[in-house]
C-alpha cells in the first residue's frame, strides 16, 4: 500500500519541529510555523469526518488553542508533531460527537472504496458502492476511524497508533480484524 508521503518526516525535519516546539514553550508567538504548517491538515482531518465546514473551522481553532495550552506536556515520540495534534483533534471531535451526533459524516472518494476492495482482494464495481458504504457505516466508531485513517487517508500504522495512543502492533491487529470483517462481508457480494 502506498503511504501518504505527507506524513513522513526525515530526522532533520523532526529535529526542526522539536526546536520550534521548545521555542514555543517559552514564547507562544514562536508557535506560528507549526500553526501554519499543520492548520490545513488538521482542518482537512476534521472536515473529512463531519458535514459542516464551519464547525470544522471552529474545531480546528480549538485544537490549536488546546495544543498551545498543553504544549509543556508534549513529549517527543519520534513521529511528527502532527500526530499529537491529530490526537487532540480526535479527542475534541469525539467529545463533540457525544453531544452532537448529527455532525458526524463519512467522506470518501470512489478511489478509496476501490482501494478497500483491492486490499481485500475483491474486484470493485460501481454497483458495489451502496453495499460498501453500508458495510463501512455498520462499523463501530473506533473501527470506522481506523478505516478512515488507513484507507481514506493512507496513514502509516505508526502514526495511527500515535493518534489513537495505542501500540503499533495493536493498531495492526485491530486493522487486521477489521479487514477480516470486511473481507467476510465483501465476499458475500459475489454471491
Amino acid at each position: 500500500m502506498a503511504i501518504n508521503p505527507h506524513y513522513h518526516h526525515t530526522s532533520d525535519q523532526l529535529n526542526e519541529e522539536l526546536i520550534i516546539i521548545e521555542a514555543a514553550k517559552q514564547n507562544p508567538e514562536r508557535f506560528a510555523p507549526l500553526y501554519n504548517k499543520y492548520y490545513k491538515q488538521i482542518f482537512n482531518y476534521l472536515y473529512q469526518r463531519m458535514e459542516d465546514k464551519d464547525t470544522a473551522f471552529d474545531l480546528t481553532g480549538q485544537v490549536f488553542l488546546k495544543a498551545l495550552t498543553n504544549l509543556n506536556n508534549y513529549q517527543f515520540k519520534g513521529v511528527p508533531f502532527a500526530s499529537w495534534l491529530y490526537r487532540i483533534a480526535y479527542n475534541e471531535m469525539m467529545q463533540m460527537f457525544r453531544t452532537l451526533k448529527d455532525k458526524r459524516a463519512v467522506n470518501a472518494d470512489i478511489g478509496d472504496l476501490r482501494f478497500i476492495c483491492e486490499e481485500n482482494e475483491e474486484p470493485f464495481f460501481e454497483e458495489y458502492i451502496p453495499v460498501i458504504k453500508q458495510l463501512i457505516l455498520e462499523l463501530n466508531s473506533d473501527d470506522l476511524h481506523m478505516v478512515e485513517m488507513r484507507f481514506f487517508e493512507k496513514r502509516p500504522f505508526k502514526e495511527i497508533a500515535e493518534i489513537l495512543d495505542i501500540t503499533e502492533v495493536n493498531a495492526k491487529v485491530r486493522m487486521y480484524r477489521i479487514i477480516e470483517k470486511l473481507k467476510k462481508s465483501l465476499s458475500k457480494l459475489k454471491m
Binding site: 507562544p28 508567538e29 508557535f31 506560528a32 500553526y35 501554519n36 492548520y39 490545513k40 482542518f43 482537512n44 472536515y47 458535514e51 465546514k53 473551522f57 480546528t60 481553532g61 490549536f64 488553542l65 498551545l68 495550552t69 451526533k101 448529527d102 458526524r104 459524516a105 463519512v106 467522506n107 470518501a108 472518494d109 470512489i110 472504496l113 476501490r114 474486484p123 470493485f124 464495481f125 460501481e126 458502492i129 458504504k133 463501512i136 457505516l137
Partner: protein, 591 residues
C-alpha cells in the same frame, strides 16, 4: 444516528482555508485564557515564599505612601490641580469641537444609519446609497486599548450636495498654512462607533475601508479628515477613485437571478471539471477490473521425451500414497541443476516421497526424498515414453486446442468490454462536450446579462452612484473627498439682509452663500458681515440665512438683480415651515 456518507464531496479550497487561519487571534485567545487561569488559580498563595514576599512588598508600599503623604503634600496638591485643569480643558475642547460642527437647524439634521457588527467576525456594511464599509475582524478596541468583545454599533451618514452640506453644519473653509480656501465636495461622510453608548476606537493596523458612492467621477479631488479640535481639515492623500458604478441594492430580483445563474454556471463547471472526468475514469477502472475477472487461458504443458539424464520412477503403494496416483507412469528426469544428486540415490529405498510444484511452474517439480533423518530435494522434469507419450501428446493437442479457443474467446470478450468502455467514454465525452457548450453559453449569457444589468443600473442610477471613492480610515470622524477652491474671486459685497416690503433688516446667525456652478458652499458668521464677502458674478449664487428659528432665502435671481445693481441689500424671503425637511429644503434652494 447513522452518519451521512458522502462520495466525492467537493474539497474546500486552499484560499478558503487560509482565510480562516489567524495566528494572532490564536495567540490572543491563549493569552486571555492564561490570564484568566492565573486569576482563578489561587494555589500560589499557599506558597510561604510568596506570602512573605507579599507582606514585605505591602510594608514597602505603605511606607512609600506615608512618605509622600507627609512630605509631598504641596507638590501633590499642585499636580492634582493640573490634572483638574487638563480635564476641564479637554471638556472645553470637546464642547468647542461640538460647536465647531453645528447644524443650523435640528429639523434638517441628517440622521445616522445604525449598523451592528460583531467585532470578532468583522463584516461589510452596504449603505443605502451603494456605499460600502468593509470592516476586518477584531478592528475595534475600547478606551483602554483592549479588544471589544461582541457587537459594535456603527453610525454612518453621508453628505453629497450643497443642501446636505448646509444641513450638516460642517464648515467647508480650509486653511492650508495660512492660505485660505473653500472645499468643493465630491462626497463626505461621518462615521462613529460605540458599544453600549461608550465610544470605541479603530485598532492600529486594522483600518476600515469605506467605499463612498460619489456624485462625481472626476479625478481632481483629495481626501481630508475634519480635525474638530484643530478646527481645520487635514489633508490625507489624493483621492482614490473607481469610476465604475456598483450595482444598486434595489435590484433585488436581478440579484436573485444573478445568483441562480451563477449557481447554474458553478454546477456546470463542477460537472465539467470534476464529475464527468471522474465518470470517465471510473469507466476505465470498471473495464480493467472486469477484464481481470475474465477466465484466463492457461497454456498446457507439452509432454517431453527423456533426454538421457538419470531418471526416477515412483514405485509407491497407491493406497498408502494416493496423491502420487496422478504421476502414474511418469518418469522423472533429474535436472542438471541438482548438484547434490549422485547415482546412489537410485539404489536407496526411500521411506517417503513428496512431489510438489517446482520453481518453473508446470514444467518441473520438486521431488523430496526422505530416509529417516536424511532429506534430499531434487528438481525433476516429467517425461513420458512409448504409448504414454503418444497418449499424452494426443491429450496435449486436445487441451491446446481448447486453450486456443479460450484465448480467442477471451480476446473477443476483452474486445467487447473495450468497445463497451469506449462507447461509455464516448457517451461521457459527448456529455462533457455538451456541458462545455452549455457552460460557455451560460457564461456568455451571464456576462452579457451582467453588462446589460450594469448599463441599465448605471443609467438608472442617480449621480451619487456613479463613482466610488476609496477611503482607508484609522479613526472615526468626518471625512471628505474635496478639492480646495480659492475663496470666490470677483467682486466684494457687504451684504445686508432685508425682509418684506418695509425692508426690515434681519439679524442673521449664520449665512451660507451657495455657488450653483460647483458643489461649494461658503459659510459666514454674523461677525464676518462687517468685512466684505467675495463672490463670483459669473456663477449663479444664492444666500441662505438662518436667523433665530427661521430660514430665509435670497435666490439666484434676486442675488443677481442686487449685485447687477452693485447693491448690498439682499432681499430674503422666509422659507415656509414645511421646508424644514431636507428634500423640500433642497427644492427651495433649487438644488
Amino acid at each position: 444516528m447513522t452518519p451521512k456518507f458522502n462520495i466525492d464531496r467537493p474539497k474546500i479550497s486552499e484560499e478558503e482555508i487560509n482565510q480562516h487561519k489567524d495566528f494572532n487571534q490564536l495567540v490572543k485567545q491563549f493569552k486571555q485564557q492564561s490570564v484568566q487561569k492565573a486569576r482563578q488559580d489561587k494555589s500560589w498563595w499557599k506558597s510561604k515564599k510568596v506570602r512573605y514576599s507579599s507582606v514585605i512588598a505591602g510594608i514597602t508600599v505603605v511606607c512609600t505612601i506615608s512618605y509622600f503623604a507627609l512630605f509631598n503634600k504641596t507638590q501633590n496638591q499642585n499636580t492634582n490641580d493640573k490634572i483638574v485643569t487638563q480635564k476641564q480643558e479637554t471638556g472645553n475642547k470637546t464642547q468647542e469641537a461640538r460647536r465647531f460642527v453645528l447644524p443650523p437647524s435640528k429639523k434638517l439634521a441628517i440622521p445616522y444609519s445604525s449598523y451592528k457588527i460583531n467585532n470578532s467576525k468583522g463584516g461589510e456594511i452596504n449603505h443605502n446609497t451603494a456605499s460600502k464599509i468593509k470592516i476586518p475582524k477584531n478592528s475595534f478596541v475600547d478606551k483602554n486599548g483592549k479588544d471589544v468583545i461582541g457587537d459594535v454599533t456603527i453610525e454612518y451618514r453621508e453628505f453629497h450636495d450643497k443642501g446636505d452640506i448646509i444641513a450638516s453644519g460642517i464648515p467647508m473653509a480650509y486653511d492650508s498654512a495660512g492660505k485660505k480656501s473653500n472645499l468643493e465636495s465630491a462626497g463626505m461622510f461621518d462615521i462613529q462607533g460605540t458599544q453600549n453608548g461608550e465610544p470605541v476606537f479603530i485598532k492600529e493596523g486594522n483600518n476600515l475601508n469605506v467605499e463612498l458612492a460619489s456624485a462625481s467621477s472626476e479625478d481632481r479631488f483629495n481626501q481630508y479628515y475634519l480635525d474638530t479640535l484643530e478646527k481645520n481639515w487635514k489633508y490625507l492623500k489624493h483621492d482614490k477613485i473607481i469610476a465604475t458604478a456598483s450595482k444598486p441594492k434595489s435590484v433585488n430580483k436581478e440579484n436573485h437571478n444573478q445568483h441562480d445563474n451563477n449557481s447554474k454556471i458553478l454546477k456546470l463547471k463542477e460537472e465539467i471539471e470534476v464529475i464527468i472526468p471522474k465518470k470517465i475514469d471510473s469507466v476505465k477502472v470498471v473495464y480493467t477490473k472486469r477484464a481481470e475477472t475474465l477466465p484466463k487461458a492457461k497454456e498446457p504443458s507439452k509432454p517431453s521425451k527423456p533426454t538421457g539424464r538419470p531418471t526416477f520412477v515412483l514405485d509407491a503403494n497407491k493406497s498408502e500414497y494416493p496423491e502420487l496416483a496422478a504421476f502414474d507412469n511418469v518418469i522423472f528426469e533429474i535436472g542438471e541443476e541438482n548438484r547434490n544428486y549422485n547415482k546412489s540415490f537410485n539404489d536407496i529405498t526411500w521411506n517417503d516421497v513428496k512431489v510438489s510444484e517446482g520453481p518453473d511452474k508446470g514444467r518441473n517439480y520438486l521431488l523430496t526424498l526422505v530416509l529417516r533423518n536424511r532429506i534430499e530435494k531434487l528438481i525433476v522434469y516429467p517425461v513420458l515414453t512409448g504409448s504414454d507419450f503418444e497418449k499424452a501428446q494426443k491429450k496435449y493437442q486436445q487441451k491446446f486446442g481448447e486453450y486456443q479457443a479460450l484465448v480467442v474467446k477471451r480476446e473477443a470478450d476483452e474486445k467487447k468490454l473495450l468497445a463497451e468502455m469506449e462507447a461509455k467514454q464516448q457517451a461521457y465525452m459527448a456529455q462533457l462536450k455538451q456541458k462545455q457548450a452549455e457552460y460557455e453559453k451560460a457564461r456568455i449569457n451571464a456576462e452579457v446579462r451582467n453588462i446589460n444589468d450594469l448599463n441599465t443600473a448605471f443609467n438608472s442610477m442617480s449621480n451619487q452612484e456613479r463613482a466610488t471613492r476609496l477611503f482607508s480610515i484609522s479613526k472615526f470622524g468626518i471625512y471628505n473627498s474635496d478639492c480646495a477652491r480659492g475663496v470666490a474671486n470677483g467682486k466684494n459685497v457687504s451684504p445686508v439682509f432685508i425682509t418684506g416690503e418695509n425692508e426690515k433688516p434681519l439679524m442673521p446667525d449664520v449665512i451660507y452663500m451657495i455657488d450653483h456652478t460647483a458643489n461649494t458652499v461658503y459659510s459666514f458668521g454674523r461677525n464676518d458681515l462687517a468685512g466684505k464677502i467675495k463672490y463670483d458674478p459669473n456663477s449663479g449664487n444664492s444666500f441662505v440665512v438662518f436667523s433665530g428659528s427661521k430660514m430665509y432665502l435670497c435666490n439666484k435671481e434676486s442675488f443677481k438683480q442686487t449685485t447687477d445693481k452693485e447693491g448690498y441689500k439682499f432681499s430674503v424671503t422666509a422659507l415656509p415651515d414645511n421646508s424644514e425637511n431636507l428634500p423640500d429644503f433642497k427644492k427651495a434652494l433649487e438644488i
